[in-house]
């Protein structure tokens, strides 16, 4: 009897150990690398259709909840009066879905087995990892600026599902008009080539804390192949500093004085140390 119990305990432990085995990301196979060639060609650099972003502020009205609509009206009035509230002046990432909605900067897409990676030009941290290896969302992921994204190919369209976005991440329609999503944000995107060199991202944004119903809108990018359009590094925080030489002759960055969202005119002479 005791022996049997020990045996059963042993088997249970074994099973337990096997169940706790961490999930592995297997190395991609040659077939998986080859399969990438069958995906649509999204190479090149994509520049945003900024005029269309602004057009859609009225063309695709956001179904704000009434109490949120009041905040939005106040922000719109301030911007109209030339006193825009800076939603992104702290250099934190725009995050999801604001990056897709309002960016003025270029983006590129990298396809690797099981992954689509979006790299934006501004901010070292502006990137999205979209897992296309069939995994589900984790049961309780840590919220992040860009959330957790899983994708699947529906023909030539990448369908992306994003959850676990920080509640502080803005649902913004411009750099001066938007509110934090406040939690429970869910974004579904259908990204596809509308023309040979025109990419559409059809977004359906569910944000029950700020929207009365899901909001559907589209954002558009244009493909550039001229090499001068290649993405370059863009570190937002660099704007807080000016390049100077210190007393030892070292090249250093020193903080520069800002007021009301902009550098003070004499800042080059009088950096705030």
């Amino acid at each position: 009897m005791t022996r049997l119990m020990v045996l059963m305990l042993g088997l249970t432990l074994c099973r337990g150990t096997r169940a706790a085995e961490p999930v592995q990301n297997p190395p991609p196979t040659p077939a998986q690398w080859a399969a990438l060639a069958k995906l649509p060609d999204w190479s090149g650099v994509w520049t945003p259709f900024i005029s269309d972003q602004f057009r859609r502020m009225t063309a695709d009205p956001v179904p704000w909840k009434p109490e949120i609509a009041k905040q939005i009206s106040a922000l719109e009035a301030e911007e109209k009066a030339g006193r825009p509230k800076g939603l992104f002046v702290d250099c934190l990432p725009e995050g999801m879905p604001a990056w897709m909605l309002i960016s003025h900067n270029a983006v590129e897409f990298l396809f690797t087995p099981g992954r689509v990676t979006m790299l934006g030009e501004m901010d070292g941290n502006r990137l999205r990892r979209i897992y296309t290896d069939g995994r589900p969302h984790p049961p309780d992921p840590d919220p992040t600026f860009h959330g957790h994204s899983i994708g699947r190919w529906d023909g030539q369209t990448l369908v992306v599902d994003t959850v676990a976005v920080l509640p502080q991440a803005y649902l913004a329609v411009s750099e001066a008009v938007g509110v934090p999503n406040n939690g429970d944000l869910h974004v579904v995107e259908r990204i596809h080539l509308a023309e040979k060199d025109v990419l559409h991202d059809e977004l359906e944004i569910t944000a029950p804390r700020v929207l009365s119903k899901p909001w559907k809108t589209t954002r558009i990018w244009f493909r550039q192949r001229a090499r001068k359009y290649d993405i370059v590094e863009g570190v937002c925080l660099q704007g807080f500093f000016a390049p100077r030489t210190d007393a030892s002759g070292n090249a250093v960055f020193v903080p520069i004085l800002h007021a009301n969202g902009n550098p003070v005119p004499n800042a080059p002479e009088e950096p705030r140390q």
Partner: protein, 138 residues
């Protein structure tokens, strides 16, 4: 962490806090009056080719020759300007420039740069992101 390094960290944090939360990052351009165009002529004090917005400081002679008016002009990012034909050596301290700008609404000496003519090199630079709203640009 040793006391000196804590001090250094504290000083660095204090410096950052003093700058305030509103740096010139990803902001709306609504503080500029796009219905007005002002032209200034002066000398480049500094051309700061950094993200997120390139900044040009220009000294314009005022009433007191010893104290020129210092204007700051804002542009888009280095990446976007490069696409518009700019480069980090487009303007250099001491260059004579003529600048067309949309001024700040509050009357302070600043604006959004429309076009700059570098009279020292003869080069002209301007950029408008709206001009990039089509595919296959050269």
């Amino acid at each position: 962490m040793s006391r000196p390094s804590l001090l250094v960290l504290g000083t660095a944090l204090a410096a950052l806090l003093l700058i305030g939360p509103a740096a010139n990052a990803h902001h709306s351009f609504a503080m500029f009056d796009f219905d007005k165009v002002v032209t200034i002529t002066g000398t480049v004090k500094e051309f700061q080719w950094t993200n997120p917005h390139v900044i040009l400081w220009v000294d314009v002679p005022g009433k007191d020759p010893a104290k020129p008016d210092r204007w700051w002009l804002e542009m888009t990012s280095p990446g976007n300007l490069t696409r518009g034909g700019w480069n980090r050596k487009a303007l250099n301290a001491g260059d004579q420039v003529e600048v067309e700008l949309n001024p700040l609404r509050d009357g302070k000496l600043g604006g959004a740069l429309i076009k700059v003519t570098n009279r020292t090199t003869g080069q002209v630079f301007s950029t408008n992101l709206r001009d990039m709203e089509k595919p296959g640009l050269k």
